[in-house]
Amino acid sequence: MIAVIDYRAGNLTSVVKALRHLGADVTVTEDPATIASAGRIILPGVGHFAATRRLDETGITAAVRDAIRRGIPFLGICVGMQWLFTGSAEAPGQPGLGSFPGQCARFPEGSGKIPHVGWNSLTLRPESRLLAVVPEGSFAYFTHSYRAPVLSATVAVTNYGGPFSAAVEQNNVFGVQFHPEKSGETGLRVLRNFLEWLPC
C-alpha cells in the first residue's frame, strides 16, 4: 500500500489519479499508524511551507522519520520535497525533516516572474534511479516561489534565475520540485520509477 499523506494543503486528486493510473494501491491518509504500515510514502504539497507544521502536530513527522529509518521508500513532491531540507525562508520558524542539508529560499528579484510557473527542462545526473530512462533535457511542470539549493544529492538541476534542485535522491529518500502528476509522460515515468524502485 502506498500512503499519500493528506496534510490539508491543497488538492491531492491529481497525484492520486496518476498513481492509480499506474496501478498503485493508494491510501490517502493523515493517520500516523497507517503511514507507519505503508510500503511506500508520498508527501505531495502545493501549499505554503508553514502547512507542514501540521505534520509535526499530528505525529506524521515522527512516523515518516521512523519509516525512512526502516528503509521505506519516500517521495516528496514540491513543498513535500522542500520539507526534506532543514527548512525554508517561507516559514523560518518551521523546521523541515532535515534529510538534506540547506534551506529553501525565495527566487531572487530579477529571476523573472515569481512564481516560476510552467514547463522547464531538467539537466540530469546519469546515475539517478528516480529519473532512469528519462532523456536529458526533458521538460517538467513547475509551480513554486521557493527553491532548494543544489547539493551532492541533486539528480536533476533546473535554471530559473540560477540553478536549483529539481530532483534529489539519497538511499530511500526522493524528492521532486516539479509536479510529476502534471508533467506528461516524463512525470509518469518518474512516478513509475519510484513505485518500482526496490531497496537492496
Binding site: G10, S14, V46, K113, V117, G118, G137, S183
Partner: protein, 260 residues
C-alpha cells in the same frame, strides 16, 4: 545545457451542456464533441495545458459540468484548468474534487474580490486564475482598457491593468487576459494591452483573443511579454495542431516544450 522556462501553449475547450462547441477537426476523431477525448488529443499533440471553459447558461447544465470535469481529468496528465460560472469557494472545491488543478474565475471575482483569497487560502495561489475580459477605450491610452463582466456584456468601470494588480495582491496565481477587441478577428493578439498588464504584475499572464497564425503567437510572446497564450479555434485555420504551432515558434526563436 542551460534550461529555460518555456512559453506555454494552452488549448481551450468551450463546453456547453457537457459538449464541446466549435471543436477541433482531428482526423479519425470518434466524437468531436467529447471534452475528454478532445483534451486527450490536445495533450498528445503537445498542448502544455488544457482549459475547459463552461459556457452553459442553465442551472441543470451546471451539474453536468462536474461529471464532464471528472471524465476529462481522468487520463489527463498536464495541468487542467476549469472556468465558467464558478461563484463560490464551495463551487470551486467541487471542481477541484472532480479533478481540476486550477480554476478560473471572472465575474464572481469582480463582484466579490475576496473570493480570490478564499479559494487561494485553501487550494494555493497557484490554483487560482483570474480571467479578465478587457476592451480598449477609443482614443485613450492602453492603460484605460476597461474590464467587462458577464461574458463581456457588462462594463464594470474598472481598468484592466489596475484590476490585474488588485487580483495579484489578493492572491491570484495567474491572469488570463482576453482582448475583446481582438477576440474572433484572427488578426493577432492585442500585444500592447497584454504587455501593459504583464508588466504591471509579477504573476504569469496568459494572452487570449485574436490568434490566427503562428506569427501572432511569436508577437504576443515578444512584444506582448505574455508567459502563455491560449489557442482556441486557431487549429481550424491551417495550423494542424499544437506541435505544428510549436515547431514554427521554435524556428522563430521562442522557447517551447519540444519534443512534447
Amino acid at each position: 545545457m542551460a534550461s529555460v522556462l518555456t512559453k506555454r501553449i494552452i488549448a481551450c475547450l468551450d463546453v456547453r451542456d457537457g459538449r464541446v462547441v466549435k471543436g477541433v477537426q482531428f482526423v479519425d476523431l470518434i466524437d468531436a464533441g467529447d471534452p475528454a477525448e478532445l483534451a486527450a488529443r490536445h495533450a498528445a499533440a503537445g498542448a502544455d495545458e488544457i482549459v475547459l471553459l463552461d459556457i452553459t447558461a442553465t442551472h441543470e447544465g451546471r451539474s453536468t459540468l462536474l461529471a464532464t470535469v471528472e471524465k476529462t481529468a481522468q487520463r489527463l496528465f498536464v495541468p487542467f484548468t476549469v472556468g465558467g460560472g464558478i461563484r463560490t469557494a464551495d463551487e470551486a472545491a467541487a471542481v477541484f474534487d472532480a479533478g481540476a488543478d486550477k480554476i478560473s474565475i471572472n465575474s464572481a471575482a469582480i463582484a466579490g474580490p475576496e473570493l480570490i483569497g478564499a479559494i487561494g487560502s485553501k487550494f494555493g495561489a497557484q490554483a487560482v486564475i483570474v480571467a479578465i475580459d478587457a476592451r480598449r477605450v477609443p482614443g485613450a491610452p492602453v492603460e484605460h482598457a476597461e474590464v467587462f463582466a458577464a461574458g463581456g456584456r457588462k462594463p464594470t468601470g474598472r481598468r484592466a491593468v489596475e484590476w490585474a494588480r488588485e487580483a495579484e495582491s489578493r492572491g491570484a496565481g495567474e491572469i488570463l487576459l482576453t482582448s475583446m477587441d481582438a477576440d474572433g478577428t484572427r488578426a493577432g493578439f492585442d500585444c500592447e494591452l497584454t504587455a501593459a498588464v504583464s508588466q504591471a504584475v509579477q504573476i504569469p499572464v496568459i494572452a487570449s483573443g485574436g490568434a490566427g497564425t503562428a506569427r501572432h503567437f511569436t508577437q504576443v510572446f515578444r512584444e506582448g511579454c505574455a508567459d502563455a497564450a491560449l489557442a482556441a479555434s486557431i487549429f481550424h485555420f491551417g495550423i494542424a495542431d499544437v506541435r505544428a504551432l510549436k515547431q514554427e515558434l521554435r524556428c522563430d526563436g521562442i522557447p517551447v516544450r519540444l519534443p512534447c
